[in-house]
Amino acid sequence: MNALTTMMLLPILGSLLVAVIPNDQVLRIKQAALGTTLLVAISGVLVWMRFDSANTSFQFTQSVAWIPSFGINYAVGVDGLSLVLILMSVLLAPIVVLAGWNESEGGRWSAKVFYILILVLETMMIGVFAATDVFLFYVIFEAMLIPVYFLIGGYGSGERAAAAVKFLLYSLFGGLLMLASIIGLYVISGRNGGHTFDITKLSEMHNYMSSTTQNLLFLGFFIAFAIKAPVWPLHTWLPDAAASATPGTSVLLLGVLDKVGTFGMIRFCLALFPDASKTFTPIIMTLAVISIIYGAFLAIGATDIKRLIAYTSISHFGFITMGIFAMTAQGHSGATLYMFNHGFSTAALFLVAGWMSARRGSTTIADFGGLQRVTPVMAWSFFIAGMSSLALPGLSSFVSEFLVLVGTFTRYPVAAIIATFGIVLAALYILIPVQKALHGPTTPGNENLPDLNLREKIAIAPVIAVIVALGFYPSPLLNVINPASAHVLELQGFTDPTPSDSAGK
């Protein structure tokens, strides 16, 4: 059986298993969920090991007719880009389950429902990156909203219902625009070789479109992805959702689901509409740079730890978007690697911030203080996650952030120069909460907070290990990413600028 399909089926089977376990056996339910996600993670690693990075076409493909009358197939396959994102998703899933062991308690519904939602979401996370049929992608893209909506609205905190609705409406709006564009594409394909939703065939269609058509269809996709990513000014749902969701849900939301936006920019915007992509590049670069600086300033000004992390992500997504549209090998590979690395550093930040908040009963940064001396392991974990977020050399995010910057600089020096100011702002938005929460005298009420327990240590250790390991040795991922990036750039007709001072010499 196809490896990707198997990976998608496993969480479904796991959720069925969870469903039949009696409601009162909460521990069994959690163990079943953890076991399933671990199994999926292992199969993800196996797929990665068997992946042939020299081959730039889709691998592990399967295509089954789904709605033949519309030419819709269940079609999956991975290239370097989607493989890396699937790997990230399936590695984060068991960590999220383990780290948020008690997150399901205090929700509107039972623990059983919580884990069924998580497992169903995992299937969709794999599917959305693996889909090679545009319609299949769209269906999963929209369907993913449902479990997330219930995870935020049912198990979150604070204004969870309002945040969930805001998230849903924003996403539906974007999805709607994309649907319109997909139908447009479908119509065009019908007139040029037969109705299809196959991504490879559709990527020929731009040859048959007027530039206006291409621009409009491009915008339908891009706005959907820009909301998802999110790109300024379509970002205001994210801080609300992140502040209300459980830490584990936030990890999946910011770490995985938001990547569908930046993934979609590469897979669909660039591949389907190369000319429109070029047309809109100046605007998109501008929005990306604004996101970088704007997100950083809002993070500096944030007083709530979860909102702070959400704002840093807006800044980071600005870097990813900038790298994608810089259209250089370094920018592209850097952006893809950035997606992976951001998943892990944001996971570390959110999980530790979640533990801190759960212990203190508050997410206000000012309520913490002096934690380094009360809970050293928790404080250290937060610090390392923060260092990764500010892209300290030696940690994984540095490699990707620097690649994006250097790759952007060779083509768009002004954008890169402005973006580089982000590294000073990053120092501020990390070190300010570090100082307030971890340093200084112990704030009254914090003297007896317990440090991380064994389960939490086991959950955070692999995240930090990945952050450090990829900082020093990113080749295992870059080797997979590079050919895919080169392939995209080749299709777009871009070659890297040659060094200006060596030209002709």
């Binding site: 000004g301 250097v406 600089f409 200006s500």
Partner: protein
């Protein structure tokens, strides 16, 4: 190029120490400091072995490399994790591990009462490893890893006692100001890659021969910004004084002998850029000259012994940067002063720590006095460092500083006269403020607070001080005998025509320098040794003294020009995001809900009204697209 497989141990040994001590936690409290010291010493041993190997090879084969693995490879951007040990980096390796090990030994005793001593030693080892990576990386990007690594270690050590809010703020300030410098380094690397197609030292050097002057000037200026951040040079100097919040051994190792000199290393290592970019070179010289004066002036007004020494460090590094900006004639002298300064300033900082150790952590020199009698060894070792820094022959600073003053005069024309005079003036002020430190601490009458029982420090502390004092006495002579250091380094910088034209005869320059020293010392003696010193800092002082006490208003400037406007901008953006951007979204939302409510009157349920809205929208959009695609 010769290759070696053992270079990596230089870095790996102390790095392993840091990792083991941090992961082992409290279990390592008993032996952590011993392991860290042993690993630092082993790294020094590897360094000595490498030196002996180097000496056994002919001059042109002395540089060795080791490629560990491919670090980053994307398109034409290929960076190896590679190590380069040449005549320049071996100087640093021995300074870092040698002085570093002495400071480890000192800290065993100095930090013995701190419950977090193990963590302190973990940070020290982390620092040694990062600093070695900085000077051993074979490309600018490898250097960058060490560059921020030392910044991290510095941050952790400045804030070692971060339960005090002021210390936590000091560590953050250092990191952020350093990041401004790091931005310069990032730009330099980006420009180098975009224009020269390489970021390795050898690649950039090769490409620099054919590069345009504009390119090299741009890279040079960016490297200078990086150097200014790390080396506390004007205008990025404001963090160094506050960095004295760290334990004193840290001030000795990081904020005197090694890390703060990394900027000098960067410029000297990039000689091929500056040699061909006169504008950038001129800026280097200016930054050096301004900072050496700036630091010296601040040093005259500080009553905190560590802050006085920090101002002095800033000033002395100004000398090194000045020398580095003077081109091939100055590189070797910049390194020579860097090495001699490493000995005498580290020794004096350890002496200051010894004084604090005996005086209940008092740092105010107005509360010292007469310690000569109670701490004879500290007095003697500090005194030798003092003689070295003010430039009394035959102590180390005499040789290295004179060489810089002389080279400055030889720069030629008005420029030479101005630079030479500045360096001379700096020497006079240095003599003044260092004599002030010496007199206030050791030889003037006692002005202690009650319950002080000054005593000499244990041997674990004074032994490193004594060894460093020997260095303060001897290194200048050793380095200049037969121009040994200049010859040693010449393969790195390439042979250049020795300056035949001397603006002034060597003996005259030495005479002028000594006169400057005598003037500075005399004024300080009259003012502090032969007059009464107030135990409280007098408040009715001139505006100049007040400004100097406030570090020439550096913080007021930064706060009013950058910090407060930045905070205002942050508040404005936070408000804009809530009121304008999200406000618009909420307005759309309330409008939709309003419409929904209206529709609800004719519909049965809430959910359906959304569905209707969505359906209407979908149909309208699809229709629109349909029209467009026809």
């Amino acid at each position: 190029m010769t290759t070696s497989t053992s270079l990596v141990y230089l870095i790996a040994l102390p790095l392993a120490g840091a990792v083991i001590l941090l992961l082992a936690g409290r279990r390592a409290d008993k032996w952590g400091h011993l392991l860290a010291t042993a690993l630092s010493a082993s790294s020094f041993g590897v360094g000595l072995y490498q030196l002996s190997q180097m000496l056994s090879r002919p001059t042109e084969e002395r540089a060795v490399t080791q490629k560990l693995f491919t670090w980053i490879s994307v398109g034409s951007f290929n960076i190896d994790a590679g190590i380069l040990l040449d005549q320049l980096s071996i100087c640093f390796v021995l300074l870092i591990t040698g002085v570093g090990t002495l400071i480890h030994i000192y800290s065993i005793s100095y930090m013995s009462h701190d419950e977090n001593r193990r963590r302190f030693f973990a940070y020290l080892n982390l620092f040694i490893a990062s600093m070695l990576l900085l000077v051993l990386g074979d490309s600018y990007l490898n250097l960058y890893v060490g560059w921020e690594g030392v910044g991290l270690a510095s941050y952790l050590l400045i804030g070692f006692w971060n339960q005090k809010p002021a210390y936590a703020t000091a560590s953050k300030k250092a990191f952020v100001m350093n990041r401004i410098g790091d931005m310069g380094l990032s730009f330099a690397i980006m420009i180098a890659f975009a224009t020269l197609g390489s970021v390795s030292f050898s690649g950039v050097e090769e490409a620099s021969h054919t590069a345009s002057q504009a390119t090299l000037t741009a890279i040079g200026i960016m490297l200078l910004i990086a150097a200014a951040g790390k080396s506390a040079q004007f205008p990025l100097q404001a963090w160094l004084g506050d960095a004295m919040a760290g334990p004193t051994p840290v001030s000795a190792l990081i904020h005197a002998a090694t890390m703060v000199t990394a900027g000098v290393y960067l410029i000297v290592r990039s000689h091929f850029i500056f040699d061909a970019a006169p504008t950038a070179q001129l800026l280097v010289v200016l930054v050096g000259a301004v900072t050496l004066t700036f630091g010296a002036l601040v040093g005259t007004a500080k009553d905190d012994i560590k802050k006085a020494l920090a101002a002095s460090t800033m000033s002395q590094i100004g000398y090194m940067i000045l020398a580095a900006g003077l081109g091939p004639a100055g590189y070797a002298f910049a390194i020579m002063h860097l090495l001699t300064h490493g000995f005498f300033k580290a020794g004096m900082f350890l002496g200051a720590g010894s004084v604090m150790h005996g005086m209940n952590d008092q740092v105010n020199m107005r509360r010292y006095g007469a310690l000569r009698k109670f701490m004879p060894i500290t007095f003697a070792t500090f005194g030798l460092g003092y003689l070295a820094i003010i430039g009394v022959p035959p102590f180390a600073g005499f040789y290295s500083k004179d060489a810089i003053i002389e080279t400055a005069f030889n720069a030629g024309g008005i420029k030479g006269i101005l630079l030479g005079s500045t360096a001379l003036l700096g020497a006079a002020i240095t003599a003044f403020y260092m004599t002030r430190v010496m007199v206030l601490t050791f030889t003037s009458p006692e002005r202690w607070e009650k319950d002080q029982h000054p005593h000499e420090s244990p041997w674990l502390m004074w032994l490193p001080m004594a060894i460093l004092a020997i260095g303060s006495v001897s290194t200048g002579f050793l380095f200049t005998r037969g121009d040994s250091l200049v010859h040693w380094l010449s393969p790195v910088f390439g042979e250049h025509e020795a300056h035949e034209e001397h603006f002034l005869p060597v003996i005259v320059v030495s005479g002028l320098a000594l006169t400057a020293v005598v003037i500075g010392v005399s004024i300080a003696l009259v003012k502090y040794q032969f007059s009464d010193v107030d135990a409280e800092a007098p408040q009715n002082v001139s505006i100049f003294t007040r400004i100097a006490r406030k570090d020439l208003l550096q913080d007021s400037f930064n706060e009013s020009v950058f910090m407060r406007p930045g905070q205002a901008l942050t508040r404005l953006l936070v408000k804009t995001d809530d009121k304008v951007i999200d406000g618009t979204v909420r307005l759309v939302g309330t409008t939709a809900i309003g419409t929904g409510s209206a529709l609800r009157k004719t519909q049965t349920g809430f959910a359906r009204s959304y569905a209707v809205l969505i359906l209407i929208g979908a149909v309208a959009l699809i229709a629109g697209i349909w029209v467009v695609t026809q």
